[in-house]
Assembly symmetry: C2
Homo-oligomer: 358 residues x 2
Amino acid sequence: MSQYWSPLLAELSPYVPGEQRSGKRIVKLNTNENPYPPSKQVMQAISDVDGTQLRRYPEPASQNLRDALAKYHDLDSSQVFVGNGSDEVLALAFMAFFTNDQPLVFPAISYSFYPVYCKLYKIPFVAFPMSDDFSIDWLEMPNEVGGIVFPNPNAPTGLSCSLTEIESLLANNPNKVVLVDEAYIDFGAQSATVLIDRYPNLLVTQTFSKGRSLAGMRIGAAFGHEDLIAGLDRVKNSFNSYPLDVVAEAAAIASLNDETYHREHVNKIIASRDWLTKQLEARDFNVLPSAANFIFAAPRHIGAKQLHEHLNSCDILVRYWDKPMLQDWLRISIGSAEELQLLINSIDQTSGLKGDAR
Amino acid sequence: MSQYWSPLLAELSPYVPGEQRSGKRIVKLNTNENPYPPSKQVMQAISDVDGTQLRRYPEPASQNLRDALAKYHDLDSSQVFVGNGSDEVLALAFMAFFTNDQPLVFPAISYSFYPVYCKLYKIPFVAFPMSDDFSIDWLEMPNEVGGIVFPNPNAPTGLSCSLTEIESLLANNPNKVVLVDEAYIDFGAQSATVLIDRYPNLLVTQTFSKGRSLAGMRIGAAFGHEDLIAGLDRVKNSFNSYPLDVVAEAAAIASLNDETYHREHVNKIIASRDWLTKQLEARDFNVLPSAANFIFAAPRHIGAKQLHEHLNSCDILVRYWDKPMLQDWLRISIGSAEELQLLINSIDQTSGLKGDAR
């Protein structure tokens, strides 16, 4: 606290990201990073950026990337927005569409950055209760809402919503923006981008950080009706004209162009997720069915907090929240086969269970 | 305009950056870009980033870059903040320190993004009148202020303030943050960073876009008392945890490490500025003494608007504002020697003057 801080600043509750501890032996399963590097075409695109591109400002709209994304998703370029990671895109969307008097609503268990944005922009919000099985209970949603946001698949549960569910939400709230945060969409859930032409109130955000192995590069996107995209551009151009650097744009376009690599590695992660789920179920964990690149699992033979501490002491990082409903659970990112085996070995140290799972 | 836009969104007046027209023959002197590419060490650092760094999130604070900047400026790391270009850093600073009831003040002629940020964050502001010679007339500043911001050197005039002037401003406003926007500091003015240890109300912003040839990479920084830096971190962590990508951080550190290249190329730009000033003065232009990588010049033999149009038709881009006080002037970025010669040739087409300047 300082006399120079604005009243707003003093009231903020900043987001706390997962720990970025580094070191050769660290098994990092705490921030849902991709275990595989980006494709060689991406690395080549980065090396190919030349000094003239760097000394010049980027084209402010990153139009080449918007065009590539439009083609990839079978949309018009006017339906595409890009930014400095999907966190930035979400923040700009909150400012553009949710700074009104009625509360923004989101499920009580969802991305913990949502209430942080709300405090930043003084947006009233209601985090409505989940079902006991962690699914989103839309009947719990207040009647008068200023907007709706939720992750699909959800985090940290990994559970997904069907397109039918999303479509009824859009149809029932035609005057409010419904923001579907698809950070983890590559790993099995159905993207709502196919609904964009029919629902002018739908905004979908995605990221290159998870399925495309570019968390270090900070690239996010939004898809929606051109009026929503124009709104995002107005906020962007009132905040930072050039949020995406030329290297990031080149890397993103190269990633979209190497679909074979993308699909192959996403499928590997899905196969590892299935393997890990079976291993943990065989060790009597409760594991939610995940459509993401992480699983949400509750050990029964040991407390989750205790297991988190044990794993931490073995240099295996997973995410734990000491909060209502979450305190019995761990969120575990899908790492490489080797990393997941180390995780299982470490879990086996905490019980007599061993070797009875394939 | 759309029914989904928030009331705030509808009222914004977004910033309009200089045109990023591209093409082989374009002479681009409109966005104050560096005519020289970044050093080979920077290019190497970019190529050296590996797939593991890209698949992982950046360290959220970009601590390695903060440490390198602290060393470079002889400050403590706790006095350094970094972000996605100095536009982002300025936006976060406005939110952190200027969202209060008293007006933020800045000179009427200064960076045209300042009033845009104010509208975004609903900050009252007063743009106080300049002296007739375009210098900042601090006597025109209102008595009750919520904060002060100005560029040094100023844009688009290129005129600089002395450290004595800045110090008296800091001493006379001990309870308000004074933000010195040093985007163009490399080209001759004295940096206020040397005052940071003595004035807890001083915040200085800088960029890698101009002197360091990295406009395409989006890297900005702020320097100030650790309480101000902590405030910026609170806003950053409520907006976007990871604003700087790993490639940008590596490029920035490499740039700081190649001081010889930096100084050599800054000196070349200063020499070109002196050459261009003489050429234009010989052609009867009024040229303000510039401490930046651009000059602000008023032709006398032709209207500035008309000359702007002529240059544009020759694929030579310079910046013109059809606004009070500015309408007789052009802002011309210091390009390469070849580009500046093309500019002079094109200007000579508009008059009988030729060859009488060295």
